[in-house]
């Protein structure tokens, strides 16, 4: 029982990182139908930003987190503006290939600038472990969980309640009608990239703190898993991405606990395939309605 609870705790904190990342994939997909393969690399950039500001500028955790969100938000907007916007009216495959290109560019660019060495992330926080019965939970795990949930709630509030959030949803479902009522599509897309990338930045700083190490390729695997999480939840659906992230995090830790560490990734994909065979549109996805 305790091991199960322990894995639940571990799975939830890892899952919340995937969830934060998956949200960015799903929002960008929702609005421009692009799978932004460079998204995992924004998370890496966020981790490096955190590394830099904590080491050089002696920022505390909160400042590092918030500044990484701002920096990555702006960075995401820049990437969209430079790489994706010129291809807005090109076939989707062109944008997809560009996204893969941007991903390589960021990975290799960062390796060039900072070498591909693994660096240990500065521990801005003294690790404290709490023991509840047989379950051990660290203050960092709690922090990740709480910060992620707060960010997800904030995101939900922005998307549901604010004018820009509603515009985002309007552009996602019908860009032309949105234009006809005066919504600026470009601004709305930039706003979406800013939100998604800011969440990735937050995830990057938190994972640095959790795993203690960062490197220019650190975004690849979590990026793909977060993408899987987004598909699993129902691509384009914000609550779906959050659920998908937690499911994948839990699966991964459960597989590990069962002694299948070596197969944990395979297990994640196996589950993805099974769920998609049963529910092709994802956990929360509805049958795709053809546009009339």
């Amino acid at each position: 029982m305790d091991t199960i609870l322990q894995q639940l705790v571990n799975g939830l904190s890892l899952g919340s990182i995937y969830a934060l990342l998956a949200l960015g994939y799903t929002m960008v997909y929702g609005i421009i139908k692009l799978i932004n393969f460079a998204h995992g690399d924004i998370y890496m950039v966020g981790a490096f930003w955190g590394y830099y500001v904590i080491n050089q500028l002696h920022f505390n955790f909160w400042l590092a987190l918030i500044s990484a969100m701002i920096f990555c938000g702006l960075f995401g907007v820049l990437v969209e503006w430079l790489a994706y916007r010129p291809l807005r009216n090109s076939p989707r495959i062109a944008a997809l290939i560009t996204a893969i290109g941007v991903s390589f560019l960021l990975e290799n660019g960062m390796a060039y600038l900072f070498t591909s060495n693994v660096r240990s992330f500065p521990q801005v926080m003294h690790v404290v472990r709490y023991h509840l019965g047989g379950v051990s939970i660290s203050n960092i795990q709690l922090l990740i969980l709480v910060v992620s949930i707060v960010l997800m709630v904030l995101l939900q509030l922005i998307v549901r309640k604010t004018k820009m959030g509603k515009a985002m949803r309007a552009v996602s479902v019908d860009p032309e009608a949105a234009q006809l009522i005066g919504i600026n599509i470009d601004h709305t897309i930039s706003f979406t990239f800013a939100l998604g990338s800011a969440l990735a930045g937050a995830a990057g700083v938190m994972i640095g703190l959790y795993y203690n190490s960062i490197d220019p390729l650190m975004g690849m695997t979590p990026g793909i898993k977060a993408f899987v999480a987004a598909v699993l939840g129902g691509i384009g659906l914000i609550p779906g991405a959050a659920i998908g992230g937690f499911v994948i995090g839990l699966l991964e830790t459960i597989m590990q606990a069962l002694g299948f560490s070596a197969f944990k990734d395979a297990a994640v994909y196996a589950v993805l395939i099974i769920i998609l065979l049963i529910k092709p549109a994802g956990i929360l996805g509805k049958k795709i309605k053809e546009k009339v």
Partner: protein
């Protein structure tokens, strides 16, 4: 005074010429109907006025400024709203959120409350369904929502693209009554319809469009009485 003047407008889709040198104007306070068969280029003209499509040639004057190269945002801000063909309400957004989106560019926040009330009293069914997903509305209700959304921008000129399409006769009459009311309250109307008899009967003036060209123009009554129009568009 002419509020909107379209001069020698041509619009292409790649090599397809959908609109070929069209001229017409809409005076302040009028209802002007543009009628024509499927594929005549009606929707294309409206999209071009709204800045969604850019013309291959010609000019569009609105309040005596040229708008054919302006962004759709600026055109809406200038007072032209469109109710697109097929309604295009936002599914997944509630009825109220759809209306709020109509007011996206409005700066006069204080006046909004009154305008929502005005829309709700014009379309009581929307008020009942305020918090419902707009996708759950019936076709007629969606048409009303699309009109309400466009009205929330407080347009001087409203462009209606086949508002009666796919509606039951009772709804059609209601929609046309509403169009007349909109005019009475001071909004100029450019109405596109395939339901030519209805459209011409409420119009001050009309134009007949065929394969990208204006064939005929006259008052609504003149066109209704015209034999060619009757043969081609009124099933006479």
């Amino acid at each position: 005074m002419s509020l909107l003047k379209v001069e020698d407008l041509s619009v292409n889709y790649g090599v397809i010429q959908a609109v070929k040198g069209v001229n017409f104007e809409v005076n302040e306070g009028e209802i002007v109907s543009l009628i024509g068969a499927n594929g005549a280029g009606k929707t294309t003209i409206l999209k071009t006025i709204s800045g969604i499509l850019k013309p291959a040639g010609g000019k569009i004057y609105y309040e005596d400024r040229e708008i054919q190269s302006e962004k759709s945002e600026k055109i809406v801000l200038g007072g032209i709203s469109q109710v697109p063909e097929g309604r295009h309400i936002f599914p997944g957004l509630t009825v109220m959120e759809n209306l709020q989106m109509g007011a996206f560019l409005r700066k006069d926040k204080a006046a909004l409350k009154n305008d929502y009330d005005a829309v709700f009293s014009r379309f009581p069914v929307l008020s009942e369904r305020k918090n419902q997903d707009a996708a759950t509305l019936s076709g007629g209700e969606q048409q009303m929502l699309a009109m309400g959304r466009a009205l929330m921008a407080k347009p001087k000129l409203i462009l209606l693209d086949e508002p009666s399409m796919g509606l039951a006769p009772i709804f059609i009459n209601e929609i046309f009554d509403i169009i007349k009311e909109i005019q009475k309250q001071g909004t100029t109307v450019l109405l596109i319809e395939q339901n030519a008899s209805k459209a011409l009967s409420i119009a001050d003036r009309g134009y007949v469009l065929a394969t990208g060209n204006i064939l005929m123009t006259g008052t609504g009554e003149e066109l209704l009485a015209n034999e060619d129009v009757q043969k081609a568009y009124l099933g006479g």
